[in-house]
């Protein structure tokens, strides 16, 4: 069955307003990777996403988005030399959307079980093929009421500059708070405490928060 069809036939999420965007295709304790259902429709960098875990839901921050050929040996080649736009490329080559996929990587920052939030790694990683949802603004607001998750982010060893991820995560989250500036100041202060021994790094993160 086509993925598109599956989605249209069975939108059986817990909440209809929740936006399902993909599925876990690789998982470990500290992070997981997911494949998007639609090409180029990955959540933005720093976006808070969730997936089901045991016993609660696993929350994570998107830190890397990648679109590539599904087959490792088959390179994507340029096809639009004679065409006017990207859309025309896809219209002329309808197989393309089936041969490419957009994946994103997520750093796990906590677990939410009912009303309790835990800002530490869940005991078990996300299960493969678990659905991944973009968190709703109220969920983001609730989760970011405490900034304890920053300590997991700040020490992460990843290929993408982690400060960029932190900054965009906080910028995104700030939009869900009634006083976004106050939220950013609070977060900035938390960072200042965590980075008290690295003033240059702190300066650069703070500049990215605006």
């Amino acid at each position: 069955m086509d993925i598109e069809q599956a989605k249209s036939q069975k939108p059986k999420t817990k909440n209809h307003s929740e936006r399902r965007i993909g599925e876990v295709i690789k998982a470990s304790s500290a992070e997981f990777a997911a494949q998007c259902y639609k090409l180029d429709e990955a959540p933005p960098l720093g976006c808070l996403v969730k997936t089901e875990g045991k016993p609660g839901e696993i929350y994570g921050v998107v830190y890397d988005v990648e679109t590539q050929s599904l087959e490792p040996g088959r390179r994507v080649v340029a096809r639009g030399e004679k065409l006017d736009s990207k859309d025309e490329v896809f219209a002329a080559n309808p197989q393309l959307s089936r041969l490419l996929s957009t994946d994103f990587k997520v750093m796990v920052v906590g677990e939410v079980e009912g009303k309790s939030r835990h800002y530490y790694l869940p005991p078990t990683p996300a299960a493969i093929h678990s659905f991944v949802y973009v968190c709703q603004p109220e969920e983001v607001r609730g989760f970011t009421e405490s900034l304890d998750f920053l300590s997991l982010l700040i020490n992460a060893k990843i290929l993408v500059p982690v400060d960029e991820v932190i900054a965009s995560c906080l910028r995104n989250a700030s939009l869900t708070h009634p006083d976004s500036n106050a939220f950013l100041v609070k977060a900035g202060k938390e960072l200042a405490r965590m980075l008290s021994n690295d003033i240059n790094r702190l300066n650069s993160v703070l500049k990215r928060l605006r």
Binding site: G188, K189, A192, S196, N203, R210
Partner: protein, 541 residues
Amino acid sequence: MATEEEQKRLGAVVSGSLTQGVEVRLDASISVEDMAVGRYVAIEGTKHRFFGMITDVSLETVDPNVAVTPPDVSDPFIAQVINGTTTYGKLEVLPMLTIGGDAASILEGPQPAKTVPAHFSTVKLASQRDVEVVFGAEDEKRFYVGTPLDMETKVCLDVAEFVKRSNGVFGKSGTGKTFLTRLLLVGMLQKNAAVSLVFDMHSEYGWEGKTEKGYKVKGLKQLFPSKVAIFTLDEESSKRRRVNTDVVVRIGYNEIEPEDVELLRQTLNLTEASTQTIYQLAREFGDSKWLETVLNLNEEDGKQLISRLNIHDSTYRNLRRGLENLRRFSFLVPHTRENSVQRILDYLDRGINVILEFGRFDDFAAYILVANLLSRRIYARYRENAEREMGGEVAPSRPLVITIEEAHRFLNPELSSHTIFGRIAREMRKYNVTLLVIDQRPSGIDAEVMSQLGTKITCLLDDERDLDSVLTGTSGKSELKSVLSKLETKQQALIFGHAVPMPVVIKTREYGTAESYRELGFLDAAELKKKTQKDIEDLWA
């Protein structure tokens, strides 16, 4: 009720010791600029509540690199984030007292702090109530002298304790020593704790004084006419100033003893040999006659005298020249009909405060001579009385406080062992006589005398030696020093010692307005008439 401002948390204790004071990290919401040394804070320990004073405010950073590569604070967001996290304010607080805790300690009142609050104890500005608990409310023993900085609460001085020891008022010229002294005199008078004898060099306590701006302020006699007597050495000056004096003081040559002249050695420019000669002359002619005899010697008699007593000619000349200087003091007369000392004592015995105005004789020679001469005799009488009292013959005499200005002239290390004031300061209250010394150069005062002063009230001082000398033997000296040197030049003073439970910086109570007079107990003519009327009615009712 405490206001919201006082309840505000300032920060938390992060380190420190009892001797050095504790360090308080300021919360981000508190600006260092709102803090001030000398302010009171309350620290909520786990078992006790501590009462302390801010002695220093400093700026700190978590990382020394902040100073090297400062964050871009032109961005208000970054400035807001950095404040209180990467950079923060720090207070040095000297815990001085512990308040409350268990029932026993509430009964005992505030006790000197013997430990420090635990880590991260909350620090708040002291509430009005805390200050009241510490300094007590105004009552029949306590006199309201001023308010703590930025607070409305009254700081009260325990006058009964105050007069038990000699005390000092210090401060640079123009910092309000005279106003403070006037207040203290009023306090002692109002609380009936002691009678005062004031040697008023510049005639500013008795009838009327002047503020620096030129306004006139009432002296003690105007405020309490029935309890104050003005004595004067210079009747003409008093008349010109339209001051009603009670007694004109005259001192006979016979009352001047060799010691009195010895004190004037410097002012009269006498040599060591001449001062020795005075004693020789006194032996020859007697203590009461020597001065008159020497001043009346003619050339011929003088020559005979020096050859008979084997005095060197130049010494004799030096002595004569010096003693001739005394003649310009018109209050010195060969013979007096009345005994000034007795007159002063009569007034003091009746509980009337005596203020001796010097009029135009406001130089040190006259001041030292008269103050010393009179005090010595008065002290002798008090001493006698105290001894009789021990024998059970008489009632104890009323405590006497002698106020002297320019005290370093009497109490400097060379003279303090010779003058009566040195003795009074040392022997303290044994004979019910204590001093109130007023001085602008405390470093000039003998360290031994300074150490005996019970309560010290000091306005701004900025000379290092003066600061050291005032704070000798005080705990938390270096902390108090920073407070003291930062006082404002007007209406601010640091009080510490016997009569207050802990050092306190006050904004001196208002003096000079009609309202302030009324608060001090002054009744204007109409009110006085009404009161008299009521007293008469009560009497015949």
